[in-house]
Symmetry: C2
């Protein structure tokens, strides 16, 4: 099996999607699957799927396809999902609250331990049974609790300062929803969730579709 | 200038980031910039930036760099952001409410006209001054109003049915936050926002960092 670091980035980005498909197959009680079946469910070509999955060793057996559980487990392992990650949310506005609720679905692996905010009207509230704490308590909290992932849902002007606190406090990763890019040391993982970026890719597609229609009318 | 359809997908995905950087430069009062400056702000290499921006024609003048406004305008045009997009949100739970608030920042271009839900406790509420309407009114609403983008923030079991209503109702694009992939006709644009996918890419990076640390300790 190849070292994980050798898996190309483009393949890694498709793994969560494979994971979702495999979970559906498991729910349907399927024990085996094929690149053709995964292709039908994802829209990726069967040959791309075989190539992608080849990166993780030899799962498929010629003519027998893949064992769903084995593949699902392997993808979880590669994505680092066998561990438990303690998370906190900084910024308890609507988005922070939505995430506090949303992550219920992430099941046991991603508990949110606390929310933090500077707004006195939010401090002390319980959201999905998670306490909103005063932001000024964050450094002490991080010293006293092992937090793996800090989620930033503040406005963009506060986001870098929050990231700095989180880094000093020892988080291993930052999930950033603030509308700005953040700098963190190399040893801290960061993933940006820019909602507006996704919206702009949608309007781009809308525009492409329109141009395709116009040019087909002209033809 | 190349036709927009010829711009490679990987370049398109970087455009929202360029847009953000250029906006910052505009705010700082800069009229000109260079690939070196954009490189320092994005982390992309200067040569990649020059290559990316070359896709949109000849903006840069050797030794003079880029005009910030011109480049910003051009990127907005390519992303389809010169238009106004009427949006509705289906699913007025925390995430739908967060989006209703969040899009305030998107300024004039993306007004949210209404929210829809099946929950009687939500119907009739006003969220960020937008009314939550009964989901059963959706088909009539779509017939009577020009809606460009439907945002789906329901649970995953309802999402495909909602998408079908939106397609029949004539939306041009769907922004899907439900944790499932949806099928829509080719002429409807769709962009999936799978929060958990982003979280898994974060845990993947965390794991890579850890392995790098372990192997550097061993060296």
């Amino acid at each position: 099996m190849k070292a994980i670091t050798e898996v190309p980035n483009a393949v890694v980005k498709r793994l969560p999607r494979y994971k979702r498909i495999l979970k559906e197959l498991l729910k349907m009680g399927k024990t085996n699957t094929s690149s053709a079946e995964i292709s039908a469910l994802t829209g990726f070509t069967a040959s791309q799927i075989r190539q992608d999955l080849n990166n993780f060793g030899t799962f498929g057996m010629q003519g027998h396809g893949y064992e769903v559980w084995k593949l699902y487990d392997q993808i979880n392992r590669i994505l680092g999902l066998e561990e438990r990650y303690n998370m906190i949310v900084v910024g308890a506005g609507n988005l922070g609250q939505a995430i506090a609720h949303y992550t219920r679905y992430y099941k046991a692996g991603f508990p949110i331990i606390a929310l933090f905010d500077v707004n006195p009207r939010l401090i002390g509230l319980r959201i999905n049974d998670i306490e909103v704490m005063d932001f000024s308590c964050l450094p002490d909290f991080l010293r006293d609790n092992r937090i793996d992932i800090g989620i930033i849902t503040t406005n963009k002007d506060s986001a870098q300062a929050v990231a700095d606190y989180l880094v000093i406090g020892g988080v291993r990763g930052i999930w950033n929803f603030a509308m700005t890019d953040l700098s963190v040391p190399e040893y801290v993982a960061i993933e940006h969730m820019h909602l507006s970026d996704s919206l702009y890719l949608l309007t781009y597609q809308i525009q492409l579709n329109e141009m395709a229609q116009i040019s087909s009318l002209g033809a």
